[in-house]
């Protein structure tokens, strides 16, 4: 077995000055163990307030910690905050912090850092996800270990947000000029050594780290010395690097997963409870999808199970709900009763009612974003839809362009082309995503009614779990019955990991948070 991956760092070939690459890595002690994790892309920022990508969040998880943490089922519990109290009116949350939490620069983490983080999220350059913090009106430091957060109105998604990476706690010793770009001081299991943009992020183990609440065995610091998160865009290159031992963990090419499993040289791990939802979503401002029958026809004509079996071979699951597994309110049985089982005859009937038939197919365009083999999935769906008389052209684009174009489609009721539909994807830790998508004006200016708005507001203002569940389920039922948000499958992107045999203890927490604290590196 190749063991180059465990070669002491001092014996590794050093960068040649002659080629002047910005790849030099600060050295660590001889014999130190490093783990290399390769991903297809780089982060956007080290600042948790300046990016929203999964790639960025997964790195923040290593550098920062959160007040609360999710258990494996996605329920928030204590972490940096060992306890909290909620006032009777549900507007004041008083958190008590654990003692002895240390920032990477050696300063103590206390209530002032919590206040610094939240104030910063609402500051002059607010967080990109500031509304997800909730209607916070004040943050007060009671004493170094006690902090009180006051809300303007009750907010059901507040506690789950405090367990999500977007609420990562930032130490107030960070320097504004460099924070997020070249520096990042947190309290997480690893501290930043260097970020070579586009190439790699080098993190060293934080010896002071204490795990207060993450669902893992190790209560102390990680058990190896250095974590290198490297960008390797080409899937086949990542696989080759895994096989030679240059890389320990990476997303493999989908088409090779079966062969990798069969060869047994690498372990394939699949994330669960990711919160990722892939669904049909429609332009409802003009024909044909302003008519519920057209939306339902697409839903009935889609055999999602067959499609994901072909493309993902058991790596993904059919998802009936508009919110994915792991998210509060997800219940397959509940959602299925309002879902659309594959029924091409029913789809044909609905289309016939609308005047469409073999000589007059319903013509539309399906938007799909790049990656995750979705283009192949789209072709299968295209063929399924064609069988019932829906002629759907496919347009593939990046996710940012798709988000913008879906919104523009909805805002163009007088366009002379048929309305489009899209294979939309979202990942979130709470059913509050439904509010952000569908409460007017909505993320896409899509389907909206006063009735739905009122129901969504109740999912926000209700904080007692059982009562909130009922409100969430009412919204799910409404969205599904109106064929507004038709769940297809979960997960959908960056959820498969190939792991070398010498890596033991690698875990993937809920909402796709890779965790390295239990990892040990053997000699293979």
């Amino acid at each position: 077995m190749d063991r180059r991956h465990l070669k002491p760092l001092w014996r590794r070939p050093v960068l040649s000055a002659a080629i002047a690459l910005p790849l030099a890595v600060t050295g660590v002690a001889a014999g130190a163990q490093e783990l290399v994790w390769a991903r297809y892309g780089d982060i956007s920022s080290l600042d948790p307030h300046r990016a929203t990508s999964t790639l960025s969040m997964q790195v923040w998880d290593q550098i920062y910690d959160t007040l609360l943490s999710f258990d494996m089922e996605g329920t928030p519990g204590p972490n940096m905050a060992k306890s909290w109290e909620v006032s009777e009116d549900g507007l004041e949350y008083t958190f008590t912090l654990n003692e002895g939490i240390m920032c990477h620069d050696g300063s103590a983490f206390d209530a002032n850092d919590v206040k610094f983080t939240i104030d910063r999220a609402f500051g002059d350059t607010p967080s990109l996800t500031r509304t997800s913090w909730g209607p916070i009106t004040d943050v007060s430091v009671i004493d170094p270990l006690t902090v009180k957060v006051t809300l303007g109105s009750t907010f059901g998604a507040f506690l789950p947000f405090l367990a999500d990476s977007f609420s990562s706690m930032v130490c107030d010793s960070n320097t504004a000029d460099t924070f997020g770009s070249t520096t990042a001081i947190g309290t997480g299991p690893f501290s930043l050594v260097e970020w070579v943009k586009g190439d790699e992020i080098v993190l060293d183990t934080n010896p002071d780290y204490v795990n207060w609440g993450e669902p893992i065995d190790n209560a102390g610091p990680p058990q190896f010395d250095r974590l290198i998160i490297r960008t390797v865009p080409e899937p086949q290159t990542r696989l080759a690097a895994l096989r030679t031992g240059e890389v320990h963990i990476a997303e493999p090419p989908f088409d090779d997963v079966a062969a990798i499993k069969e060869a047994g040289e690498l372990e394939i791990m699949v994330a669960e409870n990711t919160g990722q939802n892939v669904f049909w979503e429609f332009t409802i401002s003009r024909p044909p999808f302003d008519d519920i029958r057209a939306r339902q026809a697409v839903a009935y004509a889609t055999d999602a199970q067959m499609a994901i079996d072909i493309i993902y071979g058991g790596l993904s699951q059919r998802e009936w709900c508009p919110i994915a597994r792991g998210v509060f309110g997800n219940d397959q049985e509940f959602c299925k009763q309002y879902g659309y089982e594959y029924n091409p005859e029913k789809a044909t009937e609905l289309l016939a009612e609308m005047g469409y038939g073999p000589s007059n197919p319903l013509e539309t365009t399906m938007f799909v974003w790049t990656g995750g083999n979705r283009h192949k999935l789209a072709e299968i769906f295209q063929a399924q839809l064609a069988q019932v008389g829906i002629k759907a052209a496919i347009e593939i684009m990046d996710i940012g362009t798709m988000n913008a174009r879906v919104k523009e489609q909805n805002e163009s009721p007088d366009a002379d082309t048929p309305g489009t539909f899209d294979m939309m994807t979202w990942s979130w830790y709470d059913p509050d995503i439904l509010y952000q998508l569908w409460h007017s004006p909505g993320a896409y200016s899509g389907y909206q009614t006063p009735e739905l708005d009122a129901m969504l507001e109740e999912t926000r203002t209700t904080i007692e779990p059982e009562a909130r569940l009922k409100k969430v389920q009412a919204v799910i039922k409404y969205l599904m019955e109106n064929a507004v948000h038709v769940g297809l499958y979960t997960p959908g992107w960056e959820w498969v990991f190939a792991v070398r045999p010498e890596v033991e203890g690698f875990k993937i927490g809920p909402f796709l948070h890779p965790n390295f604290q239990d990892v040990t590196l053997s000699d293979g």
Partner: protein
């Protein structure tokens, strides 16, 4: 000679000027609202988007946007990237050395392998050496960089384990340089062969042989020097091909140059960075062409008088 250099330099400036127009129009050719595409987080308000539109000058008529762009350009300002909000020029200059080292290494491989193969094929014209060299050249020309890169990677990194798969140390340069260089060596081989066959048939070569000069002197001092003039003229074009090929090859081998940066910028919808890359690329290629043309003129005095 001075006039020739000035002419070539002015031609390069025209090329760069056309590129500035292209990059200004680029942002308006993309379907959808560019501001929403670049900055449209689902929690961004319409007011914030409008403020960004004003800040970027995208609320202005396109001719005014162009004048503003040229004004900034003359001060060396290519704008700031969307991702990370950093000066585009700084980002490009940080990553350009990696691309330059890859391009130069590839060029060296292309020149050595391509010219040797071409010369050998011409010298052994009509033999199995000629035929097999040219078959190899056709395969090299036809094979996409992407595919050749993966084949080399599987052979040298995965099977033989002689070289690393991806970035990290200087040895990582070898495979991407081979990928780029071998594909371009094929072009040079065909060109060298044609040029050398012409030269071998020239009277001065025959005369040199007739007056009793050793074969090696005739081949290397007389024939090769003359035959390489048209080949050298192609190097400028080859450099442009190599820079273009670097975009694909850097991605395959995780080589952290401007080619990969361009792909990252496209996927991140970072228009200022995409614009900066195109202009930077055009400038480098145009200036490299000037250098090659001038060198060519020095090699062949007929060029500057024509």
């Amino acid at each position: 000679m001075g006039k020739f250099i000035v002419q070539r330099f002015l031609a390069a400036l025209v090329t760069i000027w056309i590129a500035t127009i292209a990059v200004t129009i680029l942002i308006h050719l993309v379907p959808g609202d560019p501001v929403r595409i670049m900055y449209g987080s689902f929690q961004t308000t319409p007011e914030e988007l409008e403020a960004i539109r004003v800040r970027l000058g995208l609320d202005q008529p396109i001719w005014r946007q162009y004048i503003m762009y040229i004004g900034r350009l003359l001060q060396g300002d290519l704008g700031n990237s969307i991702v990370g909000d950093q000066p585009v020029l700084d980002i490009l200059l940080t990553r350009f050395p990696a691309t330059l080292s890859l391009t130069l290494a590839s060029l060296a491989i292309a020149v050595v392998v391509g010219m040797s193969l071409g010369f050998l094929a011409a010298y052994k014209r009509g033999t199995w050496v000629d035929v097999s060299s040219m078959v190899l050249a056709i395969v090299g020309v036809s094979m996409p960089h992407f595919w050749l890169g993966l084949l080399l990677l599987f052979l040298f990194a995965l099977q033989l384990q002689w070289l690393p798969v991806a970035g990290g140390d200087w040895r990582s340069l070898i495979l991407p340089a081979m990928t780029l260089g071998l594909a371009n060596a094929a072009v040079l081989a065909r060109l060298t062969r044609s040029a050398m066959i012409d030269i071998f048939d020239q009277d001065f070569v025959r005369t040199a042989r007739a007056k009793g000069l050793p074969k090696s002197i005739v081949l290397y001092r007389h024939a090769l020097r003359s035959g390489l003039v048209p080949v050298v003229s192609m190097l400028g074009l080859q450099f442009a091909y190599l820079m273009g090929g670097a975009i694909v090859v850097e991605n395959v081998f995780a080589w952290n140059g401007v080619g990969r940066l361009a792909i990252e910028a496209v996927f991140a919808r970072d228009y200022p960075l995409i614009q900066g890359f195109i202009l930077f690329f055009a400038t480098i290629v145009a200036l490299a062409s000037v250098v090659i043309d001038v060198a060519y003129a020095f090699l062949d005095p007929r060029i500057r008088y024509s």
